[in-house]
């Protein structure tokens, strides 16, 4: 209660401070700015015999003052309100801020405060979110001297807390950084020191971090730029310390999700999951149709996620549209599976002894399981609930625990050395060498060192018939303390010619042979012929022809691929342009056991653009793709733009895709400048699609009213 009063007091203080703004336009004119944006979206989805409707209302109001109090001192302050509402949830944000800036010929400094209040009742609208407050202080100072070392100081403090008793969230983070940079005759020197502390007051745990970084770099050219050299040395050291109080602390780290996946499948051990992006869109309102409770609820919903890259996971959170209050009496049970890929032949492995609880406050199932490293995870409900309940979002976490009254510390030290030099001893020869070393030491007992050398040489020659040519050789050597040494040799030849001002041609051939240890991994040869020409004043043409051959010495397979890509543009009149593009590729692969696989695919597209006046624009595009597997797709898209008056604009588009799952889209959009400051935009979208033999139709109406002064 005390904290509620404090926050209210802060809000009132800031409001009192900002109140003069409302009366100040006459005095300060354009120092004051403000804006309002109200957006409304309604989505109606129809499938055979089923219709769902959802809506979304978003309101944002901002009022700000920017004033140069004197030539050197400036003040910026403002307050913003954001209210988002759907049929199922309401969220509110109030965010006042104030900042003072001071600048002169010696330094540039500023300091300010921003408050963000979530979950307040605003403009008569309450919030479904719990109250949460962020207080942010930021201050910085940067010197401006170009003669003396440039100095930078920064201090940030962020406090985040809720209003619950007892408190569930109460965190304070502080960060301090001091930097200095100095350039002396091409030599750059930089030093940085930073210190950070993150206090979790509820869990009674603290994380302290201190880091130091030093860098020296140079870049010089000699003999009229015929010899240039650059190099750098960097040393970075960081110490981290975690201290816990009287309770065990779980550090949860959310893992990066690449895609949401879903299938209704009674055999979770096999099968592919389809795309379900709504599961990973950070929105916990109902969007999909995964019902895990009630009469129409099903079992064996396979709800999955693809991680960005394989990582160790320990907890899955499954969010629901409503709080499920019957989980103790009528629990929904979950199994967790993992896999390395998501194909028709994938075998999903069940993780034994997973444990599920339901958090009614957060409206989510929290499923914990044994630490497992994989890229694909899924949770499958083996029991349904007593009432209708839809899954809205899936999150996945790794977790570390630290016992009570313990201190753990880690340190890291990293050194980088970079050096490169290149020279042109004659007009026709270039030589270059570069070195990179990365040494990394971390506690406990980790050490890694990588060193690479790159050498290259190139010889240029001008041949008769205006042909310019060069040959190049590159060699790289890599030494890694944790892996086998590797190297590669790359040979390149390039010839180009412009016999006419309107014609450019080039031919390039490259051969490479990467090695690991003494074993050649593969031999790769590729070539490219590129031609671009202006055939006529209004006709442009270009084409690329490529061929590549790879002999994989490890798998003893050979791959050859060819491709042709062409573009032709016709400027038929000043207002009418047509463009044609055609790309086709062939690939042949022969494996060790003599199996040959061939494939061929092509793509053709045509774009026509007609703009006779500033007020009207029409485009038509047609695209066709086909391959030898019979996967053919055709798509037409039409768009039109029309300025009905100097105040009203109309845009329309229509698209049709002919494929296994055909789709048609239509949209129209009207923009209306109601006054200099107010703009109204309305849009209607319709999508008709056929998927798995069923027809789906989605109608979306979006209106946005925006005003600014």
């Amino acid at each position: 209660m005390v904290r509620v009063n404090i926050v209210l007091y802060q809000c009132v203080s800031i409001s009192v401070l900002l109140l003069p703004l409302f009366f100040a336009p006459a005095l300060w004119g354009k120092d004051i700015s403000g804006n309002a944006q109200i957006g409304w979206r309604s989505i109606t989805s129809k499938t055979e015999g089923d219709k769902t409707q959802s809506w979304f209302l978003d309101e944002t109001y901002n009022l700000g003052l920017r004033k140069e109090i004197t030539g050197n001192l400036s003040l910026g302050t403002g307050v913003g309100v954001n209210i988002s509402e759907t049929a199922e949830s309401k969220t509110t944000n109030l965010y006042p801020n104030i900042r003072l800036g001071l600048t002169n010929e010696y330094f540039d400094a500023n300091g300010g405060y921003q408050l963000n209040e979530r979950g307040l009742e605003l403009l008569g609208r309450s919030s479904d979110d719990p109250r949460l407050t962020d207080e942010t202080w930021t201050t910085s100072l940067h010197s401006k001297s170009e003669v003396y070392p440039a100095l930078g100081l920064r201090y940030d403090e962020v406090k985040t807390y809720d209003q619950l008793l007892p408190s569930q969230i109460n965190k304070l983070s502080k960060f301090y950084e001091a930097t200095t940079d100095y350039t002396l005759k091409g030599l750059e020197l930089a030093v940085a020191h930073s210190k950070g502390a993150n206090d979790d007051i509820v869990q009674d745990a603290t994380q302290n971090t201190a880091s130091n970084e030093g860098r020296a770099a140079y870049s010089q050219s000699f003999f009229n730029n015929r010899l240039s050299s650059s190099g750098a040395y960097r040393l970075y050291a960081r110490d981290m310390e975690s201290v816990t109080g009287g309770q065990t602390v779980d550090f949860q780290l959310e893992l990066g999700r690449g895609a949401g996946l879903y299938a209704l499948d009674t055999d979770p051990a096999t099968g592919t999951l389809g795309d379900a992006s709504f599961l990973v869109n950070n929105t916990i309102t109902r969007e999909g149709n995964i019902n895990i409770g009630g009469i129409s609820g099903e079992r064996y919903h396979n709800i999955g996620v693809e991680l960005v890259r394989p990582e160790e996971a320990r907890v899955i959170h499954i969010y629901t549209n409503d709080a499920y209050l019957d989980n103790d009496l009528d629990p929904i049970e979950w199994d967790v599976y993992w896999a390395d890929d998501n194909t028709a032949t994938t075998r999903w492995t069940r993780i034994q002894n997973s444990d599920s609880t339901y958090n009614t406050h957060e409206k989510r199932f929290e499923i914990s399981f044994a630490p497992t490293t994989a890229r694909y995870f899924k949770a499958v409900n083996t029991r349904r609930g007593s009432s209708e309940l839809y899954v809205t979002e899936m999150r996945i976490f790794s977790m570390n625990s630290q016992a009570a009254y313990t201190t753990s510390s880690t340190s890291e030290k990293r050194q980088n050395i970079i050096f490169s030099t290149s020279g042109t001893p004659t007009r026709w020869a270039q030589l270059g060498y570069s070195l990179a070393q990365d040494e990394n030491e971390a506690d406990p007992g980790f050490s890694e060192k990588r060193l690479t050398h790159n050498f290259n040489t190139r010889f240029d020659a001008d041949l008769p018939k205006d042909i310019k040519t060069w040959v190049q050789y590159q060699k790289s050597l890599a030494y890694d303390s944790e892996a086998e040494d590797s190297s590669s040799d790359i040979y390149s030849v390039h010839a180009s010619s412009s016999p006419l001002e309107t014609l450019t041609t080039s031919l390039s051939v490259s051969h490479s042979a990467p090695k690991v240890g003494s074993q050649i991994q593969s031999k790769n040869t590729s070539s490219l012929l590129a031609v671009s020409a202006k055939l006529h004043d209004q006709v442009d043409f270009s084409t690329d022809g490529s061929y590549s051959y790879t002999d994989n010495c490890v798998s003893e397979s050979e791959t050859a691929s060819k491709g042709v890509g062409s573009s032709l543009r016709l400027d038929m009149t000043r207002a009418l342009t047509t463009e044609f593009n055609y790309n086709t590729t062939w690939s042949d692969q022969q494996s060790q056991d003599g199996i040959e696989i061939s494939s061929h695919s092509s793509n053709f597209d045509m774009d026509m653009s007609y703009r006779p006046t500033r007020r009207f624009n029409l485009t038509w595009s047609y695209e066709m793709t086909f391959d030898d597997q019979g996967n053919d797709t055709q798509a037409h898209d039409y768009t039109a733009g029309l300025l009905l008056s100097e105040k009203v604009r109309l845009n329309m588009s229509y698209g049709i895709t002919l494929a296994d799952e055909p789709q048609t889209t239509y949209s129209s959009e009207v923009g209306w400048q109601l006054s200099r400051s107010i703009f109204l935009n309305s849009r209607y979208d319709r999508i008709n699609e056929e998927e798995a033999g069923s027809d789906f139709q989605t109608d979306t109406v979006t209106s946005t009213l925006s005003a600014s002064f």
Partner: protein, 471 residues
């Protein structure tokens, strides 16, 4: 609590003391003026070949007072500006309602082949004007702190009266609502504004005043908003591209933003702050900074990987690339690179990283984060994904754009552009590459089929960033 009250009291005192202080004259001047660009073009294809020298301009305000606009003499010839716009200049003029524009012409000629005949100049049209003045109606308003663009269409075929008097047939209009499906936005670091270009015919169609020293600009996926990083005023301007007005200016917590990226779901904007070693996270519904993320030293470039929901941040001072999760807004990894990274582009799961001090490009294979180096043969600036396996890279050594083939690892072609090219944007529909040339104050447009510079457009001073929305 005591500290809060103390700080608020202090700020309040400074606020009111500052308000009571004498107004800053420079600020007052700025408050009462607006920025105006004048562009002149010919109407279609003129059969007459006429040239004249423009030496002055005047604007008539609603109180019937003429405001002189001083400009350097500009030679204009109808046959040379076919399908081109001439930028007559950028001016700061009193905020007011205006009714008419007058041009003062010094000499005029009609050309027939190599021969030319001089034309008589019209008489003075008002008492302050000299001989050679022409006047035409164009009602427009200059608002303080805002930008305005006036477009003058010249019909050369209707510019000779009585066979010997030069009487240019001109009409003018101020900037207005535009068709939204083919627009490019260019931030002008020296003019504190954004120039809008219509990309079908490549004409300037307007300007929008933003904060000080605008650098990177980015357009949302829907094309409804453009965001501009104002490094000088330490803010981010939000442009409503439906109405082409600044909707809001976001305080960036005192950090000077440089590069921008938008999250996969268009809910967050990420801004690198090179001097403060942070990335700001801006909520795009509410339009304020919700978080700042500490990264390496001098974060310059930021690239969004929407497939992986990750951001890659080039820390040029730390020889590293930080990986940030778009969902959790946390650094989830860091990658050591062997160059001082300044520019990046992501093409087909390969992250191309360039630095200004070495002629090599580091390529990061994103699925396994394994790096390799390829030799570019020049010190690369801004990088952008192209067609047919090409990467377009600014070659700062000779002010050109290198067409670098990523598969072959070689430069296929080099195209010279204006002075000090700073950034690139690809119009994937019309296959054109837009290059901002900072020192020459213009945009070079390269046709990617013929691989030649097709057109040059004059914009504001020191153009820096460019973003294109194509539907």
């Amino acid at each position: 609590m005591g500290r809060l009250i103390w700080i608020f009291s202090f700020l309040l005192s400074v606020f009111f003391l500052g308000c009571a202080a004498a107004p800053d004259l420079k600020q007052t001047d700025k408050r009462n003026t607006g920025q105006v660009f004048f562009y002149l073009s010919t109407l279609g294809k003129a059969s007459s070949d006429i040239s004249f020298t423009l030496i002055g301009m005047g604007l008539l305000n609603k109180e019937d007072k003429w405001v002189d606009v001083t400009l350097d003499a500009i030679n204009i010839r109808s046959s040379e500006i076919k399908d081109q716009q001439i930028n007559l200049g950028e001016f700061r003029l009193p905020a007011d309602d205006y009714k008419k524009i007058s041009f003062t012409v010094k000499e005029a000629y009609v050309h027939r082949g190599d021969a030319r005949s001089s034309l008589a100049l019209p008489n003075a049209v008002h008492e302050q004007a000299s001989q050679g003045s022409v006047i035409f109606d164009v009602p427009f308003t200059i608002h303080s702190y805002e930008s305005q663009t006036i477009f003058i269409d010249w019909d050369a075929d209707k510019s000779i009266k009585e066979n010997y008097i030069f009487s240019p047939g001109m009409t003018a209009r101020p900037q207005g609502l535009e068709l939204k499906n083919a627009l490019a936005y260019v931030s002008n670091e020296g003019s504190d504004c954004v120039t809008i270009i219509e990309t079908v015919n490549d004409f300037v169609v307007g300007a929008i005043a933003v904060g000080q020293r605008p650098q990177c600009i980015i357009v949302s996926a829907s094309g409804d908003k453009a965001y501009v990083a104002n490094a000088g005023s330490k803010t981010v301007s939000v442009i409503d591209t439906l109405s082409n007005r600044v909707l809001n200016t976001i305080d960036n917590l005192g950090y000077a933003p440089s590069d921008l990226a938008i999250s996969w779901d268009s809910r967050f904007l990420f801004a690198t702050n090179p001097k403060s070693d942070t990335v700001s996270v801006i909520d795009l519904d509410a339009l304020f900074v919700i978080q700042r993320i500490n990264v390496g030293r001098n974060p310059t470039s930021i690239v969004a990987d929407n497939d992986r929901r990750e951001l890659y941040v080039a820390n040029s001072g730390s020889f590293s690339v930080s990986i940030i999760s778009m969902d959790t807004h946390r650094v989830v990894g860091a990658l050591a690179v062997s160059i001082s990274p300044r520019y990046m582009t992501l093409c087909d799961e390969q992250l191309y990283v360039g630095g200004e001090t070495t002629d090599e490009i580091e390529v990061v294979n994103i699925p396994d984060l394994v790096t390799r180096k390829i030799r570019a043969g020049f010190k690369p600036g801004w990088l952008s994904c192209g067609f047919s396996g090409r990467i377009y890279a600014i070659n700062k050594d000779d002010d050109s754009i290198a067409f670098f083939h990523s598969g072959m690892g070689i430069v296929l072609q080099g195209v010279r552009v204006g002075r000090s090219p700073s950034s690139l944007a690809v119009d994937s529909v019309r296959k054109k590459l837009y290059v901002t040339n900072k020192d020459s104050g213009d945009i070079s447009i390269i046709d990617l089929i013929s691989e030649k510079v097709e057109k040059t457009i004059s914009v504001g001073s020191m153009p820096y960033g460019i973003a294109i929305f194509t539907q």
